[in-house]
C-alpha cells in the first residue's frame, strides 16, 4: 500500500490533464485531438481514484467507472464523426472544418 502523501498522485493527475489540454490545443488532426481528450478524461479519473483512497470510500471508484462509460461513448460518437468529416472534407484537419465562422 502506498504511503506517500496523496499530493503526489494528485500532481500526477494535474500533469496528465495539462498535457492532454496542450495536446488538444496543439494538434490539428482530429484523431490526435480525440486521443488528447482521452488523456484528460483519464487524468480526471485518476483524481477520483485518489479521492477514494484518501477517504477509504468506494464512491470515487464508482465515479471512475462512470468516467469510463463517458469515455467509451465519446470515443464511439467521436470516431463516427471523424469518419463523416473525413468523408465530407476529405481531410482530418480540424481547422478546415470552420463552416461556422462568423
Amino acid at each position: 500500500m502506498l504511503t506517500v502523501p496523496l499530493l503526489q498522485p494528485l500532481l500526477l493527475a494535474v500533469l496528465l490533464f495539462a498535457l492532454g489540454l496542450t495536446g488538444v490545443l496543439v494538434r490539428r488532426n482530429f484523431v490526435f485531438i480525440l486521443m488528447s481528450i482521452e488523456i484528460m478524461l483519464n487524468a480526471a479519473g485518476l483524481a477520483f481514484i485518489v479521492a477514494a483512497t484518501r477517504w477509504g470510500q468506494a464512491d470515487g471508484q464508482v465515479m471512475f467507472a462512470f468516467i469510463l462509460v463517458l469515455a467509451a461513448s465519446e470515443v464511439a460518437v467521436g470516431l463516427a464523426l471523424i469518419l463523416r468529416i473525413r468523408h465530407r472534407l476529405t481531410t482530418l484537419d480540424a481547422d478546415a472544418a470552420d463552416l461556422l465562422r462568423g
Binding site: L12, G20, F32, S36, N42, T53, A58, F64, S73, L79
Partner: protein
Amino acid sequence: MNDAFYVASGIAVLSTALAITRANGVHALLYLVISLLAVALVFYTLGAAFAAALEVIVYAGAIIVLMVFLVMMLNLGGAAAARETQWMKPRVWIGPAILGIVLEAEIVSILARGDAGVPSLAVILPRDVGIAMFGPYLLCVELASMLLLAALAGAYRLAYLERAEG
C-alpha cells in the same frame, strides 16, 4: 510500493508527452497505451485494484483498439505523418504550453495550500464498489446505460450514412 508509484508516474508522464508529440498515429497510440498501463499501475498502488483492471481492459483494451482500427482504416501513412510534422512547428506550441503551465501552477498552488492527506488504511474491495454502484448510484448506472445506448445509436447512424453516401 512507493518506488513502483514513482516509476509508474514517470513512465505515465513521459509516454503521455511522447503520445501528444508523435507525428505517426500508430506510434502515438502505442505511447498512449503505455501511459494508460502506467496509470493502471498507479491505481494499483493506490489500492484500487478493480479500477486498475477496468483501466487495462476498457481503456487500454477496448477504446485504444477502436482507435487503432480507425487509424488503420483512415490509412494515416507517411504523407499524413509528414503533414503532422509540418503542422507541429515550435511556434504553435507556445500558446498551449503557456496555458498548460499556468493551469499546472494554479492547481499546484491550490493543492499546496491544503493538506491532501495520506491514504486511508481501509481497503476498497471490488465488492464495495459493486454495492455502492448498485445501491445509492443505481440511478446513475441507469443513466450511464442510456448514454451508452445513445452513443451506440448515434455512432451507428453516423457510420450508416457514411456507407450510404459512399
